[in-house]
Structures are given as C-alpha cells and as structure tokens.
Amino acid sequence: MLPKFDKPPVIEMVVGVEFADLAGLSIPHFGLFWAQIQDKYPHCEVKEPAPSRIEIFEGQDKQEVILNFPILRPPPIRCWYINSQQTWLLQLQQDRFIQNWRKTASDQTYSHYTHTRSRFEKEFKRFQEFVRKQQLGPLQIRQCEVSYVNHIELGKEPGALSELAEIFPYLSAQKQGDFLPAPDGVGLNASYVIPENRGRLYVGVQTVFRHSDAKEILQMTVSAKVIPTSQDYSEILNAFDLGHEWAVRGFTDFTSDKMHKLWERRQ
C-alpha cells in the first residue's frame, strides 16, 4: 500500500507522455485542436518547446538525434491550453502531451493521481482521435511521466534553511564543521534508476522565490519517467502507475518523519 498524506505540500501535478515526433503537427493543427477543447480550456499561450529527454541506460543506443532543418520542418512550438480557473493546463508540442494540475488557493483540494490520470486519459483519447483524423501518423509513446511539485514554506514549518536536514534526512551528514554560515540558497538534484531499466526518478530540491506571495520557500520536484514496454493501452497505464508509485515512495523516503506528521501521513 502506498503512503498517503492528508495535507501534502503538493502545488502541482503532472501526468503526460512523450511520443515519437509528429513532424506533420504544424501551427494550424494547434489551433484546430484548441477549437475542440476551447470550451474547457479557453486560454491559449504559445511557448518554446521543451527539449526531448528520453531515459537512456548503459548499453542502449544513444537517443536518436533529430536534425532540425527549419526550412523542411514546421517551426517547433508548444501550446498551453488553460482552463478559466487557471487550475488545469494541457501542454501540446510535436512530441509531448501533458496534463498539469495546480493549486491556486490555499483551501483548494489536492487533485489525486487517479483523478489527474483519468482526466489525462480523456484528453489524450481526444488527441489520438484528432491525430488519426488529421492523418498525422502513428502515436508511438516513448515515455510516461508522473511529476509532483511541492512547496515547503520555511519558517512556518520546522526546519529553517540552516536545518534542511530536519526536512531531508539525506542531508544530515552534510555539515561537518562550523565555519560556513547557513546557505542563502540551496540546490540539490538526485536521480534513481527504476529497476530493470524501466526509467528514472528525479528528485530536485531548491530554495526559490515564489512570485505569487514573494516568499522564499523550498521547492521539491519529484519526477518519475517510465518507458512503456509496449504500445498496449494497459501497458501505458501500468507505466503511469509505476511512475506514480516511485514518485510517492521516493517523496516519502526523501523526507523526514517529522515532516510526514506535519503533512498528516495516514499510511
């Protein structure tokens, strides 16, 4: 049974897939797809695409290099489709389909994984149908992602910046002497291989300045990237579930019992 928290510090959750580049997905398609979802996502923003990052392991072929000839290929873009409450975001680019949920008010209920995944599934089915009708080619899913962004407020919760070890036991042996003062900024990245080279879990912790309330806080990102073993729909869902399990267990392992109490861990 996975650990559960009644008050997790989650402010954002991501469920998404990276697929083999749909070279034919050009700017008009982004608009045509938006027309299909505009009732649910009335706001649209154009962004730079995120770079591809498929997990590679020793002995495997290097990631295929995609040559980008601007004359032959449509200019790469990423579209953000946002709902009117600014809580749900769909991200689409030539190799990515991502569903984000975010918390915008302190009293907003956290969207659990099952809910976010089921919302992703519904939207992705619509996108698959769109790709089929527009004859954009097969959707070959290369990687599934489940990520959480957590905001841990300093000062309000135990563990000031100089006491990060109280939040992250991993850091308990880091401070040896007493020469250095408390750091005024911290950044830490760790990655873990998911057995049988199924993917990796990434954990990132850094002190950040949050724009919405001008507070200095700790941002902890936990991101599981899992490679599906086949294109069967059930296997894609299994890959998400494996990613979810690693993200939740990884978060729990990485943080202290003291913080678990504060976040009201149930199991």
Binding site: V208, H211, T221
Partner: protein
C-alpha cells in the same frame, strides 16, 4: 535572453512561477527581498487605512523584476502604493522611469526624459515586451520621445 525560471530539471512541470535563489543575481535578490518586505505590510500601513499590498500586484512586480534582471539596469527603488499596489522607480542618465503595479495586477508607467518631457500610460499585465521597451528607453536605446 536568459530565462531563469525553474524548468530545467522538470521541463513539463513548474507551471507556478518561481525563481531559484541559487541562480538569482544580487540585483534580483535585493529587489525580491524588498518586495518580500513590502508584501508583509499590514492593513493601514500608511495610517490612512490602506489595504495590504495585494497578491496580484506582488506577483506581477515579482515577474517584472525577473524579466528586467536580464537587462543591465540600475537597482530599482521599490515603494508601496496606497490602496495595495507597488511601484518600481529607476533613474539612469537623467531619465526616470516609474512602473506601477495596481492592486488588480495591471500596470502603468511614467517616463520622464532628461528634458522634462513626460509620457504615461498603461500596459497589459505581464507584458514582457512592453517592460523591455521601457527598459531600453531608460538605457537611451530608444528615442527620448518614445512611448508605448
């Protein structure tokens, strides 16, 4: 332009805007600390019954200083505005620029050229392009009569 908002480690997440402190310049850190300080002003901070600084103004000002930190500007003076807004003030080579963030997050500006000529107006919330144009004017890279 450098974009230091966090997205490198988890490119598909981090929709909520933050700036990693380890990558913030001293210019940006100083401005962020001032905004943090002003964000904690209590009701009636001006003794005339003003509201605290409103979240939309804090958020837009925080975004604006991050955008502007990419450009070599002098450090801004940052003031609270009665009613719940914030104002950034810059001065360079005799030119003055004020950018006001209203309580609802919308933005206004006032440019004062060395000759005393003034231009004022408003711009959409979060308009990065407009902020850059105002910064370039302050640096003397646009005509003194330039207006948005």
């Amino acid at each position: 332009m450098r974009d230091i908002r966090i997205n490198a480690f988890c490119g598909n997440a981090a929709w909520s805007c933050v700036t990693p402190l380890t990558r913030a310049t001293p210019w940006l850190r100083a401005a962020q600390r001032k905004i943090s300080e002003l964000a904690r002003l209590a009701e009636n901070w001006d003794s005339y019954g003003s509201r605290p600084i409103q979240e939309a103004a804090i958020e837009q000002a925080s975004k604006a200083i991050e955008y502007l930190s990419d450009i070599n500007l002098p450090p801004p003076q940052i003031f609270p505005v009665p009613g719940g807004g914030l104002q950034l003030e810059f001065e360079q080579d005799g030119r003055e620029l004020e950018i006001e963030f209203l309580p609802d997050g919308s933005m206004g500006y006032l440019m004062v050229a060395g000759s005393g000529e003034m231009n004022e107006g408003s711009m959409p919330a979060g308009s990065k392009g407009d902020l850059y144009r105002l910064a370039y004017w302050l640096q003397g890279k646009l005509a003194s009569s330039f207006a948005l």
